[in-house]
Amino acid sequence: MKSKPTTLKILDVFSILVLGTAAYLALVVAPTERVMGNVQRVFYFHVGTAWTALLGFIFAAVLSVIYLVTKDRKWDRIQVAAIEVSLVFFFITIVLGSIWARPVWNTWWTWDPRLTTATITELIYIAYFMLRQGIDDPDRRARFGAVYALLGGLSAPITFFAIRLFRTIHPVVIAGSNPEADGSFSMTGDMLSVFFFALFTFTVIFIDLFWNRIRLGDLQEKVEQLKLKVTM
């Protein structure tokens, strides 16, 4: 069995380091927001995880197309890895958003279009795993998974643009502003650098987990094949 590649080991350590730095920057270095106070610091990780998760979902939809064209199961394993990591990241986004909303909106949850579409996106990918669980034949599982992830990927962009289409109280901090938003603010120079560092951090962590998960999938596949060889 091949041992873990050195690059991946280095990436593991690197992602822990950047996560520590990002936490320090967000919690200590970044200036306190005037109106919302310290709870605004949640924002850096909230957007960081959301950004990577949504990109992961769209990436999974692209992998669907590649799988359906090539029919190579390698792409299916990569897709599962992308969706699994994105699912966890998006869950963190929702939880962090909830923590922020409690003092700012005075409620943990509200049925705002942005929040609703986020939940639906999360549910789509939970359904994705339920679909896969119900199928025994690996080729069919891969095909159905690809089709469903493609449909899901069409809804992820809608989540992102929902704040621009429907009336919502969710703030738009990046590229434009939402006059009806509650809890909006504009970033100062220091905030911007911390924000971009957080984006960078979560992209690194995503790639690291993604890579580890792909490796896990490959090993699982190998174990399956070995089991088959033994029984035959």
């Binding site: 359904a127 119900g134 199928i135 089709v147």
Partner: protein, 229 residues
């Protein structure tokens, strides 16, 4: 694959639709089940939401669409399960026609069943709650919403019948994906029912049309891979 809209393809689609409709009109088992189920759902909403005149104004669109969505899954599930259980799906797959003909045939017959149920439910709802639902705009929204819902529903039903959990799985797969269609449909229907400005209704209608096209196009492209053995 070269001539997608050739007369033979249209004939194949028509043959499948005709087969489904004929089977249905002999037994009425699908439409009658959907219909009774819809009325029961409305009845439950009546007690759950206390549909007095004031609340009715704001929730009619939501109640209607929840009813259609629930009844829709019932029909979609059944129409595919029949094919699978009787082994007629294999027969269809063996037929020397393009696979997309099977998708469109199934889609059109599912859509027909759903609209049939809607045509009966709408007047009943109008009488029971003394609201006029027969506005051209609303009817158009209901048709557009049903098209999007059955377009993606037919594809997902074809997938879910081939899984271990089958009937349980379809709503779980379908509702989150069809959510955007349902959301736009409820917004547009509510707009028409409350006589909103046309500019307010235009956005959800455009979304509906966009989703109809996207879902039909995607389903058409991937249906092949869903039914292949």
């Amino acid at each position: 694959m070269a001539d997608h809209l050739s007369p033979s393809l249209l004939r194949a689609i028509f043959a499948i639709v005709w087969k489904d409709l004929r089977a249905e009109f002999r037994s009425f088992e699908l439409v009658s089940a959907m219909l009774v189920f819809s009325l029961l759902v409305i009845l439950i909403f009546n007690f759950a939401l206390e549909l007095d005149i004031k609340t009715r104004q704001s929730v009619t669109a939501g109640v209607l669409w929840s009813t259609f969505a629930f009844a829709g899954t019932l029909g979609l599930n059944r129409s595919m399960a029949i094919e699978k259980d009787r082994g007629s799906l294999d027969g269809l797959l063996l037929a020397p026609v393009d696979r997309s003909a099977i998708y469109f045939g199934k889609f059109i017959s599912n859509l027909t069943f759903m609209t049939l149920v809607e045509i009966i439910v709408l007047p009943i709802y109008s009488i029971l709650y003394n609201t006029n639902l027969f506005q051209p705009g609303l009817l158009m929204v209901i048709l557009l919403g049903s098209i999007g819902y059955t377009a993606v529903g037919t594809l997902l039903a074809a997938m879910s019948v081939q899984t271990r959990t089958r009937d349980v799985l379809l709503p779980i797969l379908l509702f989150p994906v069809a959510f955007s269609v349902l959301l736009a449909a409820v917004k547009a229907s509510g707009g028409f029912l409350n006589n909103s400005e046309l500019t307010d209704i235009l956005l959800p209608i455009n979304l509906l049309i966009a989703y109809d096209i996207i879902f039909i196009a995607v389903s058409f492209m991937v249906f092949d891979t869903v039914v292949e053995e």
